[in-house]
């Protein structure tokens, strides 16, 4: 398998990457979503801007009450990070469930978010954690709340000439969290992924991957739970996906089961 021809450019800084993207092309981070689709010739960018070696995109640190994760951090970087394990175990737990070891070693959080696969794991994690996606474009930096970031199937609020640079995640003491995933047996993508963050005061945020065209926060479920009710039906108002492995009906059922399992895990 071979991709269509394209021009490979390597950026050494965010500024350079943004100026290269302005000329067209797609950002290449770990490439674990992009390159497979290009090999199948489902995707044919004219140019790839390799952002894999930009030092500014690396690194995981605390900034006040926020954990700041460089967009170029690999899933393995995050799964193995002592800091993430301490401050936001949800991310370490979730990252450890992505793909397989080789994928985790190359795939990055920024690349995964930009790709916005409806069944990827990161979207549910960042949504439940109320993260902010920081992007840089020709007009400088802007911050997009994760709840505004995912706009549809493989669609995000990211413009073609923008690059995700970091993910800022609020960290609060006493919170509990979990990611419960029912994997599609062949691809190991989420048929249902349920991420929950429960604050010290008992308020929960609940997000799903794999269930709908786009990852989503289930605000109905949250409202019910946060007012002391039963969770109620999952995915109300969402268009539920169906495929060879899970019909709409079964997917909704799985989502309810996994929600319950997640709630038990943070009880």
């Amino acid at each position: 398998m071979i991709t269509y021809p394209f021009e490979y450019k390597r950026a050494s800084s965010v500024a350079e990457a943004v100026s290269m993207l302005a000329e067209g092309g797609k950002a290449l981070s770990g490439g674990h979503s992009l390159i497979p689709s290009m090999k199948l010739r489902l995707n044919m960018p004219d140019a790839l801007v390799d952002v894999g070696r930009i030092p500014e995109l690396k690194g995981i640190s605390m900034d006040g009450d926020e954990l700041v994760i460089g967009a170029g951090s690999t899933h393995a970087d995050i799964a193995d990070s002592q800091l993430v394990k301490e401050k936001l175990s949800l991310f370490a737990e979730g990252a450890a469930h992505i793909g397989d070891p080789a994928v985790r070693s190359r795939g990055t959080i920024g690349g995964s978010l930009a790709h916005a696969d409806p069944s990827a794991d990161w979207p549910a994690l960042v949504l439940a954690a109320n993260a902010t996606i920081v992007v840089t474009g020709p007009n400088g930096e802007r911050s997009i709340p994760s709840t505004d970031f995912f706009t549809g199937l493989f669609s995000t609020a990211l413009n073609d000439d923008e690059l995700i640079t970091k993910i800022r995640v609020p960290v609060s003491a006493g919170s509990k969290s979990t990611y419960q995933k029912f994997a599609q047996p062949a691809s190991r993508y989420a048929l249902v992924g349920c991420a929950i963050v429960k604050q010290a005061d008992g308020q929960v945020s609940v997000a799903f991957s794999g269930v709908s065209d786009a990852p989503f926060r289930d605000t109905d479920v949250e409202k019910n739970l946060n007012s002391g009710q039963e969770a109620g039906p999952v995915g109300k108002g969402q268009s539920i996906m169906s495929d060879n492995f899970a019909s709409e009906k079964y997917r909704v059922h799985l989502a309810s089961v996994y929600l319950q399992r997640a709630l038990e895990a943070v009880a």
């Binding site: 398998m1 199948l40 010739r41 062949a186 691809s187 060879n244 899970a246 079964y250 059922h253 089961v257």
Partner: protein, 790 residues
């Protein structure tokens, strides 16, 4: 004769090259001037080629030639190697499978090739192939076998409007079976689909055709299970070139599982094209193409009924099946649902009346042919599902029900072989013993209590049994010839003793993971009483090996190994003449052991090496005896061999999600004598994984237009390491009475017994929790199992 190697787990000699990256598969081979082929394939299951525009593609840099169906119209289609006629005597329908679909004709499955681009690099061939503009007229398609026989089904071949390749019946006359069933106290009835699976050898098919003008000779490197058979089919039936002008080499081959037995159009095309262009041409399939073009396996839609008397004795078995052949008849396809399936329906039981009614149909899908087990897994699935279900329905213990109906033990020596109702005569068997051993390993008594406890929770447990017998060591030529085989199924071997006593063995059995380079050498070294280091095995090259019928049907050691033993016997016989001459005694006074001939009762002896040297330096030599020590033999087996065994699965089912977890997989197999236990265990393990794969994970999904919707590993679920437990295996040995090694064959056993065991276990789990499904469609995905409970 000494015995140092047979029965020992000798580490494999072939491993060193594989673990160091020095294995040499077809795609690793680079020939000077080699070009690359890429095929343009039909995106539709059924569509007419209205026109092909090559202009843009031809203009691409690096493109050397583009051929379409019109260019290769003179080449014959790939032939079918087995003829099964209609029950009314009408000849089997054998539509031509053209090399490339010509303009005006129809492509008959997604992936059917219409053009081939040959270019300097693989990349440029791919780029140019995309620019070949084919105008298609899409036509209605049919993919499922049961749909193909409906009155309004789209026709696969216009000339055969009923879509039938042939129909067939076997066993006792249906009236006798009907009469037996009428008297049955209980009939267990099961309608099910034995779904289509994709063999998925990890090395995709790859071929290099190379023509040498000076000698007018072709060489084909091919990822095949049988180089000689490919040469025979390609020369005699497809290209019409003399065999001595073709060399076929099967280098290291990355797995076959049946899919690399057959002769494929691409093999003939690269060979043909290399002469047209005068340069070698390579084609390597990618995985996506493999899903569309490799022969698939199974694909039966069956209704089966098993009748029991009031005591639980089986009184009859009645089966109606529609089997999918795909769009064309692949090399061995007609044999699989018929003589490799119908003849195994006796199973291990004394069933007195058996009838099978089989309809084999064309559909707009890639061809179906033998896949690991080939017909025997389908037969075993049918029988063993019926047995466990009958036990559940009648409130009987499934193990007890089997014990009651087993054929009693027979060794084939003191006791005669067992004559079945479906033509075969089993060689030797002891069926109770393998099930007893399986139950011991399971700890059956405790299991039922554990299951009852689990039934109260959300994680319920089930156990599934499966006992099987299969027919291996394929095959006695006269028998299969009478059944429609168009080839003999013997094997050949040459044992060449070099002047220094070192030995080269040439076998027609091809090794692609089975470890022949080790086991065959164990046999030779033992029989000759010399170190294994003194023996090398050569296989896979039609220029160096006299003949071969290849590796499939668990036949290599039973048939190919027996041919080697025959040659060794000849070596020893001649060696004894030389030794007697040198030792100045009568041949009858000699005994051979530890690599030397000794005059009985004395210490006078001569070593194997000395005899070998004498044979090539015949200065002091028996009068009239030819020099040299080199013998070829052909071995045609007297009967099939009949391995058998017992597989038991334990599963846990998550009641909330339907997810099945395989907790234990127990396999007690009797494959006759064992040359290398480590390798036999490995064969069993691999077979188990494939059988489990069919039960829980694998299966093609065609949509109503004949599109394969899960044609990649992202959607076609291959069993992975974390899906499987450690396997619990044990062995029993009932030697084969009719071949010199007493071996029966171990290659397919694992894939034959395991599938029904796993499905039975899931059904058992559900029954334990009060749900009573008779069947769940394979593969048993979480959703299907959940549906069966809701």
């Amino acid at each position: 004769m000494s015995n140092r190697y047979i029965g020992e787990s000798i580490k494999r000699r072939e491993d060193k090259r594989f673990i160091t990256g020095k294995g040499r598969y077809t795609d690793d081979i680079v020939l000077p001037g080699m070009l690359h082929a890429h095929f343009v394939r039909s995106p539709y299951a059924h569509a007419r080629v209205v026109g092909i525009d090559l202009e843009e593609a031809k203009a691409m840099p690096g493109v050397i030639a583009i051929y379409t169906g019109d260019d290769v119209a003179a080449i014959n289609g790939v032939p079918c190697g087995w003829q099964v006629n209609f029950r009314n005597g009408e000849t089997m329908r054998e539509p031509k499978h053209p090399m490339l679909i010509p303009t005006g004709s129809t492509a008959k499955h997604v992936g059917d090739a219409v053009a081939v681009v040959i270019a300097e690099t693989k990349d440029s061939a791919i780029d140019a192939a995309e620019l070949v503009m084919v105008e298609w007229e899409e036509l209605p398609a049919v993919a499922a076998p049961a749909d193909a026989i409906l009155p309004d089904a789209p026709k696969v071949h216009e000339q055969f409007p009923d879509n039938k390749a042939f129909d067939w019946t076997f066993g006792n006359p249906i009236e006798e079976v009907d009469a037996a069933m009428e008297k049955a106290a209980h009939i267990t009835e099961l309608e099910f689909i034995n779904q289509r699976v994709v063999p998925n050898a990890m090395e995709p098919r790859a071929y290099i055709g190379s023509y040498d003008e000076t000698s007018d000779k072709y060489t084909l490197y091919t990822s095949t299970q049988n180089p000689h058979l490919i040469r025979l089919l390609m020369c005699a039936f497809v290209l019409g070139i003399p065999e001595h002008k073709v060399r076929v080499v099967g280098p290291d081959v990355g797995g076959g599982f049946g899919s690399k037995i057959y002769h494929y159009t691409e093999e003939a095309l690269v060979t043909w094209a290399s002469k047209q262009i005068g340069q070698p041409v390579k084609w390597t399939s990618d995985r996506s193409e493999a899903f569309l073009t490799d022969a698939h396996g199974r694909d039966h839609a069956t209704k089966a009924e098993m009748g029991f008397d009031a005591d639980g004795n089986i009184v009859g078995l009645r089966i109606k099946t529609v089997a999918n052949m795909g769009a064309y008849l692949s090399t061995f396809a007609p044999a699989v649902p018929t003589y490799l399936h119908g003849t195994l329906l006796q199973g291990l039981y004394t069933t007195p009346k058996i009838n099978i009614d089989m309809t084999c149909v064309f559909t707009h899908t890639v061809a179906v042919d033998a896949y690991r087990g080939a017909g025997r897994p389908e037969a075993t699935y049918l029988l063993e599902r019926l047995m466990d279900l009958a036990a559940l329905e009648m409130g009987r213990d499934p193990a007890e029900l089997r014990f009651q109906n087993f054929i009693p033990p027979f060794d084939g020596v003191e006791q005669p072989g067992y004559q079945t109702q479906v033509a075969l005569q089993y060689d030797s068997g002891n069926y109770e013993a393998v099930l007893k051993r399986g139950l011991e390993m399971l700890g059956y008594e405790n299991f039922r209590a554990e299951q009852a406890e689990a039934a109260k929770t959300n994680k319920i447990l089930g156990v599934g049994f499966s006992t099987y017998v299969e027919a291996c060591g394929i095959a006695p030529s006269a028998v299969v010839g009478a059944l429609g085989a168009r080839a003999g199924l013997f094997e050949s071997a040459q044992v060449r003793v070099q002047p220094t006593g070192k030995v080269s063995v040439f076998t027609g059995s091809h090794s692609h993971g089975q470890g022949h380079e080790t086991t065959f050498v164990q046999v030779v070294a033992d029989k000759l009483g010399i170190p294994m280091d003194d023996v090398d095995l050569v296989h896979g090259d039609s220029d160096t090996i006299a003949f071969g019928m290849g590796t499939y049907g668990s036949r290599s050691l039973a048939v190919g190994g027996s041919a080697i033993v025959k040659s060794i016997d000849k070596i020893l016989e001649k060696g004894a003449k030389i030794a007697a001459h040198k030792l100045e005694c009568a041949e009858g006074d000699l005994e051979y052991a530890e690599g030397k001939w000794t005059v009985k009762g004395t210490d006078k002896s001569i070593g194997f090496g000395d005899v070998a040297l004498t044979a090539y330096v015949p200065h002091v030599y028996p009068a009239g005896l030819e020099p040299g020590l080199d013998f070829s033999s052909f071995y045609d087996p007297a009967n099939f061999t009949y391995p058998f065994g017992c597989h038991i699965a334990v599963v846990e089912v998550d009641k909330e999600t339907g997810k099945v977890t395989l907790k234990r997989m127990i396999a007690v197999d009797d494959v006759g004598n064992v040359i290398n236990p480590m390798i036999v265990d490995g064969q069993i393990h691999g077979g188990l994984a494939q059988g489990i794969g069919q039960a829980l994970f694998e299966g093609t999904i065609y949509d109503e237009n004949g599109q394969l919707t899960n044609g990649s590993y992202m959607d076609y679920c291959m069993p992975r390491a974390d899906d499987l437990p450690m396997f619990e295996t044990d062995r029993q040995v009932t030697p084969c009475p009719h071949n010199p090694l007493g071996v029966k064959g171990a290659g397919e056993a694992g894939a034959i017994g395991s599938t029904p065991a796993v499905v039975n276990a899931v059904i058992d789990a559900l029954w334990s929790a009060g749900h009573k499904p008779k069947d769940i469609l394979m593969p048993l995905t979480s959703e299907r199992v959940w549906e069966a409970m809701n």
